[in-house]
Amino acid sequence: MFRRVLQLGLGPGRLTRGLGTRRGSFTLDWEAQVLEVKKKLRSILPGEPLELHDTSHLPPEHSDVVIVGGGILGLSVAFWLKKLEKKRDAIRVLVVEQDHTYSKASTGLSVGGIWQQFSLPENIQLSLFSINFLRNINVCAEHLAVVDAPPVDLKFNPAGYLVLASEKDAASLENKVRVQRQEGAKICLMSAEQLQNKFPWINTEGVALASYGMEDEGWFDPWSLLHGLRRKVQSMGVLFCQGEVTRFITSSSHMETSSREEVILKRIHEVHVKMDNSLEYQPVECAVVINAAGAWSGQIAELAGIGNGPPGTLQGTKLPVEPRKRYVYLWHCPQGPGLEAPLVADTSGVYFRREGLGSNYLGGCSPTEEEEPDPANLEVDHDFFQKKVLPHLAQRVPAFETLKCLMHPQVHSAWAGYYDYNTFDQNGVVGPHPLVVNMYFATGFSGHGLQHAPGIGRAVAEMVLQGGFETINMSPFLFSRFYLGEKLQDYNIL
């Protein structure tokens, strides 16, 4: 009735249509409308399942924290958020993962190594914390133990990580080992002869110094960690949703800094999560968004408006994380190094490790900037192995020469995975963005996100819940270093 009053108006001369018609809302299909109403009424009656609008596949309409990305970093942040909340169910967490099969996620495709041989003390501390976490992973109520579920078997091989350095790198290697020892890692330095004694299968030509981790280094199975974490996190009450984040609804406010400069601060209010293969999306109202999207973090950051601005300013600083494709090759060599082979990082950048107990080895190499493969798909380039990896491999480990001799490659299989590569300084970004105030990052670790995941998760959870880093001080990893130009230079990244 009110609408008619509004439409007809009160004054004279506004009676533009008669009283009997309505604008456009009448369809002539009376029967179908009656049937629809009847169906709706029947579904409201008790005893019938409510089929009006089934939203069980959609995420909830409200969540306190939305974690974009359900890989190892996202799950680790979810785990620590739930662990550090002081009361049960205090904080509602939603993990949005684009692909529940994790077919392209970096976690599953990772080589799975863990080592402490970094040059930044924070990285070393992160690795030490992670190995401790992984060691105690099944301790009841501590880490990933879930009632009535089988324990997590990480298949940790503590074979160590061997870094080979040539003459010119020898001095810096010594310095790095000193820092590592200060932090508590157990690394031993070996000269070329000692190396030859310990690992007779290595050709020590060109090697001046080698550092080898005596403890806490090796590799493990990233899938078991991922699934163990997923199970635990679900038991702690975190909600999962399969979907893609398509939009952030933000609000801006203009503020002035103390030096009278104007800043525009943005706050994310809602996250639009779109379902697969459909146009349906759900706006999720949230207080905090955590960007743990791995290789796709750059796109998520752009959605939030990070980097929209004149270059050189804080608004214009983009998140410099982009996907980079890396190949991993698996080959068989019965005369190879054997069971004692650690994860070896050669002076040329080629790395390999033993895989399983059947004389299989896997390894690869980071291509140089010019040879970067196209990250559009995960196709493997076998020529890369022949041209770039194999010569150095064969030179370092003479037993691998046999791989060269045959007409077709002896590579059993190969796969490719993405690094969430930080083009700025190849080290991760952790912590909030200065302008988009409720977006926190946990990404950009360029290949060592997996081994640092427990530590990073705890750091981000502390930042969200307690306002600062309490245990490991990750402030060098904040976003603002991209704007200030302070690079965190670390070791030769594998």
Binding site: F2, R3, V5, L6, L10, T55, P60, E61, H62, D64, E85, K86, K87, D89, A90, I91, R92, S253, M255, L265, R267, H269, E285, C286, A287, V288, G431, P432, V437, N438, Y440, M463, V464, L465, Q466, G467, G468
Partner: protein, 459 residues
């Protein structure tokens, strides 16, 4: 009474024919004017009631509640402005119409002279509240909350309808003033005990009593701010008011029948206060605190002595203002952070110091700091319950302690502590929000100076 009811009804055409830019201004200012009119009924020589007609009357019990109701409408409108700003104009007008309809039913409820009239309007308040909760609430759980709210209250009040009809047949009239003089004693027999239960259960559910309180945390948490305010401040008091009116016709059965309910409410008071200590959701904490305060009121009304009635009315008024104030404060948090979890909203004192003042004052009144009217109400009730039974002082004493504990816990969690990074750039307090808080606090402070207005009809 028509001088209040007709202007309130006329607020409806005011909302629909206002220009969209003047919508909130018009409705808020006119509802303020209406609340001034209600102040006129405060003027009472001796104990006489203001008999406006055979349908409407006010006495010292209903007048403070009436004034609170009409004072609260402009406050609800001020509080809803922000979250309604994004809706279409028609939706905003619908929302305001719901509030006004609810207001009309509430005014008529509190000034009803006849119990049947009171009952009809008591039920009529359910519909606009249900619409407000389910249509404008924030989460999907609001549907569940609405269902709980509606059906708990309806099931409780259906026996009341039957009981009132029986009584009317028995007594000839249900006019409250007549009932004071011509109600025969209700001797304790099974039928009469069932009659007592039928009369009281509706109000027990509404208050709510501890065992029947499940609807309250749901409804309060899921409702929008105006819904929470009106629920906490007024609708709970409907239960208390109804119980006070009906006790006239229910003696002496009340002497025996009241026993389990007093015990339940004394125990429930301590229980719900303890639950508050474990809450992580801010609105849920305030909702449970409401249950705890109302349990004191139920115990007082069941005891039926002059002091306890005075305490009950004082506490109802004080709690109405305080609870509504706390919900408004929680809403200012929610509008900024979009989360009700207390963990994520800490250390606000450093960035919003004026709001911290309001938080402090609200917490102080909530924990019944003397000489606020909360304290007067609680003190009277505790004294009368001590005289009813010496052992009850243990429970009421524990309750005062735990109330102070959880109120301070809420204050310190939200105001003190270190801030997270995403809190440092919250929008500063709006003048509108500060106005809202002062308009809650000024009556509280003024009444502290002169509490005889809220002491009810046995003063």
């Amino acid at each position: 009474m028509l001088k209040i009811i007709i202007p309130t009804i006329m607020l409806l055409p005011l909302t629909w024919w206002s220009k969209p830019s003047m919508l909130w201004i018009n409705t808020t200012s006119y509802s303020f004017l209406i609340s001034i009119i209600t102040l006129f009924s405060l003027h009472n020589h001796n104990d006489a009631t203001h008999n406006f007609s055979t349908l409407f009357f006010t006495d010292q019990l209903s007048t403070p509640l009436l004034i609170l109701t009409s004072w609260l409408l402009p406050l609800m409108l001020i509080a809803s402005q922000n979250h309604m700003s994004k809706e279409t104009v028609v939706r905003k007008k619908l929302f305001i119409s719901m509030l006004v309809t609810l207001q009309v039913s509430l005014i008529m409820t509190f000034s009803a002279a006849e119990l049947m009239f009171f009952y009809i309007l008591f039920e009529a308040t359910l519909i606009p509240t249900l619409i407000i909760i389910t249509r404008w609430g924030n989460q999907t759980e609001r549907l569940n909350a609405g269902v709980y709210f509606l059906f708990y209250t309806l099931v409780g009040s259906l026996p009341l309808l039957v009981a009132l009809m029986v009584k009317r047949n028995q007594l000839g009239s249900l006019n409250i003033m007549l009932l004071m003089f011509n109600s025969p004693p209700l001797n304790p027999s099974l039928t009469n005990q069932l009659m007592w239960l039928a009369c009281m259960m509706a109000f027990m559910v509404k208050m709510p009593l501890y065992g029947l309180h499940l609807w309250l945390p749901k409804a309060h948490v899921e409702a929008p701010i105006a819904g929470s305010m009106v629920l906490a401040a007024i609708l709970l008091k409907l239960g208390g008011y109804g119980m006070m009116r009906l006790t006239i016709i229910l003696n002496p059965t009340s002497i025996d029948m009241a026993y389990p309910f007093i015990l339940l409410s004394l125990w429930g008071m301590v229980m719900t206060s303890s639950i508050c200590l474990r809450q992580t959701d801010l609105k849920s904490l305030i909702a449970y605190s409401s249950v705890s305060h109302m349990a004191l009121v139920i115990a007082a009304i069941m005891i039926q002595t002059p002091w306890s009635f005075m305490g009950a009315t004082a506490l109802m008024m004080a709690h109405g203002l305080t609870s509504s104030l706390l919900f408004c404060l929680a809403n200012t948090n929610y509008e900024r952070i979009h989360s009700r979890t207390m963990l994520l909203a800490r250390g606000l004192q450093s960035i919003l110091p004026l709001m911290a003042t309001w938080w402090l004052l609200a917490s102080l009144t909530n924990l019944a700091l003397p000489p606020s009217i909360n304290f007067i109400g609680e003190l009277y009730i505790i004294i009368s319950s001590f005289s009813w039974s010496n052992f009850s002082i243990i429970l009421t004493g524990i309750n005062m302690l735990v109330t102070a504990l959880y109120t301070l816990y809420m204050l310190i969690m939200t105001q003190r502590g270190s801030m997270s990074h995403h809190m440092k750039t919250l929008l500063p307090t709006f003048t509108r929000e500060s106005t809202l808080m002062t308009l809650h606090l000024i009556p509280l402070i003024l009444l502290t100076m002169n509490p005889k207005f809220i002491m009810g009809h046995l003063y």
